[in-house]
Subunit: 355 residues, 4 copies
Amino acid sequence: MAVSPFDHPILSGLVGDAELAALFSVEAELATMLRFERALAEAEAAEGVIPAEAGRAIVSALDGFQPDVPKLRLGATRDGVAVPELVAQLREAVGPLHGPHVHFGATSQDVVDTGLSLRLKTVLAILEDRIGQCAAAVGKLGERHGAVEVMAHTRMQAAIPVTAARKIESWRAPLVRSMKALHATPDTLLLLHFGGAAGTLDKLQPKAGDAVRRRMAGKLGLKVPSHVMHSERDVIVGFASLLSLITGSLGKMGQDVALAAQSEVGEIRLAGGGGSSAMPHKVNPVDAETLVALARFNATLVSGMHHSLVHENERSGAAWTLEWLLLPQMIVATGAALAIATRLAETISFVPLAV
Amino acid sequence: MAVSPFDHPILSGLVGDAELAALFSVEAELATMLRFERALAEAEAAEGVIPAEAGRAIVSALDGFQPDVPKLRLGATRDGVAVPELVAQLREAVGPLHGPHVHFGATSQDVVDTGLSLRLKTVLAILEDRIGQCAAAVGKLGERHGAVEVMAHTRMQAAIPVTAARKIESWRAPLVRSMKALHATPDTLLLLHFGGAAGTLDKLQPKAGDAVRRRMAGKLGLKVPSHVMHSERDVIVGFASLLSLITGSLGKMGQDVALAAQSEVGEIRLAGGGGSSAMPHKVNPVDAETLVALARFNATLVSGMHHSLVHENERSGAAWTLEWLLLPQMIVATGAALAIATRLAETISFVPLAV
Amino acid sequence: MAVSPFDHPILSGLVGDAELAALFSVEAELATMLRFERALAEAEAAEGVIPAEAGRAIVSALDGFQPDVPKLRLGATRDGVAVPELVAQLREAVGPLHGPHVHFGATSQDVVDTGLSLRLKTVLAILEDRIGQCAAAVGKLGERHGAVEVMAHTRMQAAIPVTAARKIESWRAPLVRSMKALHATPDTLLLLHFGGAAGTLDKLQPKAGDAVRRRMAGKLGLKVPSHVMHSERDVIVGFASLLSLITGSLGKMGQDVALAAQSEVGEIRLAGGGGSSAMPHKVNPVDAETLVALARFNATLVSGMHHSLVHENERSGAAWTLEWLLLPQMIVATGAALAIATRLAETISFVPLAV
Amino acid sequence: MAVSPFDHPILSGLVGDAELAALFSVEAELATMLRFERALAEAEAAEGVIPAEAGRAIVSALDGFQPDVPKLRLGATRDGVAVPELVAQLREAVGPLHGPHVHFGATSQDVVDTGLSLRLKTVLAILEDRIGQCAAAVGKLGERHGAVEVMAHTRMQAAIPVTAARKIESWRAPLVRSMKALHATPDTLLLLHFGGAAGTLDKLQPKAGDAVRRRMAGKLGLKVPSHVMHSERDVIVGFASLLSLITGSLGKMGQDVALAAQSEVGEIRLAGGGGSSAMPHKVNPVDAETLVALARFNATLVSGMHHSLVHENERSGAAWTLEWLLLPQMIVATGAALAIATRLAETISFVPLAV
């Protein structure tokens, strides 16, 4: 199936991003969920919350554990989340003696949200890398062509001549600001979520709870928040907003390129461009247009993320599901836009104004 | 990959719809695009626009033609749309003699938009069927439980007792209105798009152009618009708006069910519900919450569809791509919501107020 | 105050519409609310629901009744709606004997939603008039300039020459479709809302309730729905969607004009345009740009209207308030866009391609 | 007029904020625009860009200068912005000798965007103050009631008992995070915009340009950006995103309060609440519902702000106008939500679970 172009065997070549999409494959998702269960078992065994043998049995069962995906699908249909069925399958794999110690004290949201944190860690690393490359490519474009005299356009009308550097800097500066914001993100975004049924780790002693949390966070390379943030989604929505700031600024660059590359304007020359099935002579600014489309896509979806802030009570099935429907696509759109913009910056050239 | 939950092997069990998603598989998409090319070749041969043998050769080559999907992906990356590469592959399959007659006078948008029309025909049929079933299920719920006395709630506070019929009718009536709107849709939505490079069928004589169009529309079971509507997207955005009206009204039903099924309220009893990994005793209103999530999802995406109305000039790559990123998911979300709401209506029961 | 440009003494000249904005003045709003109370009193007196003298006393008090607006403001702050305070003021004006019969059997939402219906009646008339004028102006533009040869542009690149008629028709046809949709709207939109506390007219006998409703609808020129639609908002959200379809199609026209009027393209000549404080020689396509801004404004707000469909239970304070925050602005934006587009169509001219 | 409830004499009592709205009155707007012109004249005179007498004449004319608002309205209609007309009026007031030196080297966007910066400075101060008060009030609520045992609810079902502190902390923590983000904002948001026609200060010598900028920034208490950011809107859109993060988190608090205050739940007692015109006994959670409405309002509008990032070329009339239509309302909504949430936190009480 390919309801979303990001999952589409053909269209993902246009708007998708294989590297980031891989993080949202079912395999990657299950792998991070099972990493949570492993870290939990190890930490709880180390702190004496579950028997040491139980811990070893769980870890051992996790080696080579292959979840039954069709059954997980049925479980998700029934429970709204795959975790209860995943835990049941894992308990069966562990066996009747130690199985009941699997997932002890945890709730579905701990598993899902921590699993997401683990993948967001890679997402952040990829995006930081990409945005650095993109800003560098735009910077180099400035070095190559910044001195070219082009026409400034205000309100869709020719204004006065400026150097291309002026335009290029308006593409690069927002990337630099977003890069800084991405750098500042990890501490608030890459959190361990472990709170149990209602965020209070009710099945663990307070002291043991804190100790387990610290151990888990250490194993998983995540931060421990001051309290469990199941129902506080501002951090994740803030991240989604940043994604849309990035694609929006790249959309401005795309729009500028498409306008400057118009047949009648010709201030930017595309190194190659889209062909037409009806007019083989055309050179369409496909990359530039895709940047605009991805900008408007994220500008649309970011709204739903902000709506998901109204996350009622200790856990909202509705608001949480809404995030799942939106965030992965926003991430992939952002990665794709950065790659496309880098390619564009590397290949376009500015054409001096005819005298 | 499964960037979108609608394409996800697990989560599609919660929010997806296999029947509708199948219409957006790459196979279904290519099949409808090739139906366009077949109808075009047949109609152009019949009208003498291309040689009769060319028509036969194209039709014959289309039997069993298997597009090279990885190459189509490369083509879409380059051209923004797979059609130029698809046409090239088809021309090669037809051979050098008749190959040049493939796709004669058509443009990529003709193929893609007509291909969508063909699938929307099935979409409409499925949605009409589903909405009929859903309205019927809600109607039967009214027959079974309409007389039960429940508490009306205004502004989140108990107001005065009413019968359940009052609440049920507020779920059914919008479905009936949307059903009528769906019935009225085909004439404007299920259009043949055949206009060539700029919508004027410049490569065909005006008379032949009209005749080819009529023949194609007959073969494909589509309507011929008064003029080519490449850049007029109000019809498709109107359809997206209707989809969101449907899911929004079902979201209201879901919200009502979740509120009435609250532990402290207990006016609605769920036949079964989601389990929790931490609290096995709970019966979570998963279906009801999913309806709310899908409502907010479509309410979010519909905005992007409205932005795509600003479709510049004779064809906007940016605005058109934006539609692809949004519409299929909105359709699948709507189909899923209708199926979920039907299941919910069939299984919930109203509990009389304790005296 | 002028938080919204539609209310702004300066900017309303750019984006606003005095005629439509007047319908959302506090005076217009209170006048329609009081028309509801008058019709209610008359109908209830005629049907014997309240004493005939009470009916006369209420009607008499309404003549020249001047609500205390600052007190209404306090009331709205406290109650979320001004009606309880308005009813209290009106009861005081009627006096202790007949005052208690004021507003008998009605609830705040009856007054507010019927008041809106009464103003929407005028809104529809104005918009129908405007859209007719706009379509006519665009049609005349086609008569004047349709034969001019211009360049078609696809994907932001020159494609092949077409006549201006092709472009103009892509502006006119969506207006004609929206005009038809506006014509078809009144039966579902212009409803009397009279349901009492929970939509069941619990304080009136069923028979009397129906009779009062019919009388009121007759007096107010509104339709009686089959049942009270307090919590079914699809009709009003459908109307909002139509508004955004209109502005979106006009935004396409605006975008096309701005692109064709670019200094380097020059296919459209503006009769006059915006001046610049820095470059007095410029002719900015202000009207065209404003059409794009208004299109994107409505495309944004329509999303919130769709979210308001999730209107929980028999009356949602949150969802209802959200409508108030969005719909009036969408209406004014639509009226303004139609007026601007008409002016644009009347004044632009197409410039033949240089040979 | 009162198209927007924020400008409405009655409804602004519910959703509005007089203190913040005052910053968007036409008077406040013109005052900040004229402060720009004064600082410009003073700085240019000090740097010898304009004659010292011209500087004095302009400053002197500005004392008591009363713009002709109806003419500004006409100007905005024509030019898309009031500045050309404002400058013309000011030049007339200065007289023919020195008038031509008014606004020297500046463009409309310099005036409008710097005028906004000046008002955003006050906005930030007010919001910081408000968010501090709100966080404090929520904190005190925790001190008063944090120990009360309440029921946690996950997925709209009773889960396990927790202390109210758990819930209260989920309201307070996002406020604290947003407070930090607000504190960090000034350096990027409170910018002097002075770039002239195309952002290059083409009419000033580079050295003089920098010196004038530094002087102006000092006079106005604003930062000088490294380059002119006319077309880079990520900073302002990031601020809008933060506003929506704030209202979204307060919307969660509102939703929680409304749910806990339900008649059947009764975990939160409202100190007073909205009355009903039909059911005088009711205590409606008006403040809580308004928080939800304002959250969804900003979650809707923030999308349009992100769309405005696609700000083509050196100045986009369309994207810039779109900001004007959205940002002031988002600011007022945020201020109002903070005030409402503070009032709510100060007045609600948690009711211990019945045993």
